[in-house]
Subunit: 111 residues, 2 copies
């Protein structure tokens, strides 16, 4: 597995994390990644009505903001939530966002 | 005072709110507005090294996402945080964001 570049824990800042979460598709991808901590890009995006190129961009934004780790595994891209790094840098941030995102998900029209 | 248009409480959704907060300048403006619930655009932006046109755009994004109310009062634009609306729609969301934003503010380089 070849890990893709990502920011170090100590360089994570709040605004890029909120920006990364500030899109309905990315918010849904993060919710799914947190629910399935060992998965792949394609499995997590299953059923979303979004072009592949847009999804690739979304995953990059999430990785560069520090929300997820990604690694290339043959033909798959594996996704791992950076839950520990985020809890360390931004304690108490993600739980309400994931909870509120879950409450909205049925009405989001993403599927 | 002439109020500027804003989304109704019941139409507020999470992603635009996070997007609005996902910029260091807007995050700082929101922090200041919450600290001074009756203020003006110019007073809240005091000292920020940002062009006026950029600030105008930031205030619009914050208003359209539902974070603030704005009204025209002669030559001033008055700003009021929509704290009750946000607490109603997104309970538990804003407190950690404002707290974490405050912790980062001294290093933000905005001033």
């Amino acid at each position: 597995m070849r890990p893709l570049p990502e920011p170090a824990r100590e360089s994570l800042t709040l605004a890029p994390v909120l920006h990364a979460l500030g899109d309905p598709v990315r918010l849904e991808l993060v919710r799914r990644a947190w629910g399935e901590p060992e998965s792949t890009c394609s499995a997590l995006a299953d059923g979303l009505k979004v072009p592949m190129s847009t999804l690739t961009n979304h995953w990059r934004i999430l990785r560069e903001a520090g929300l997820i780790s990604m690694s290339v595994d043959g033909r798959h891209r594996r996704v791992r939530p950076r839950a520990d790094d985020l809890d360390d840098r931004f304690p108490g941030l993600l739980d309400p966002i994931l909870r509120l995102g879950a409450a909205e998900a049925p009405d989001s029209g993403l599927l």
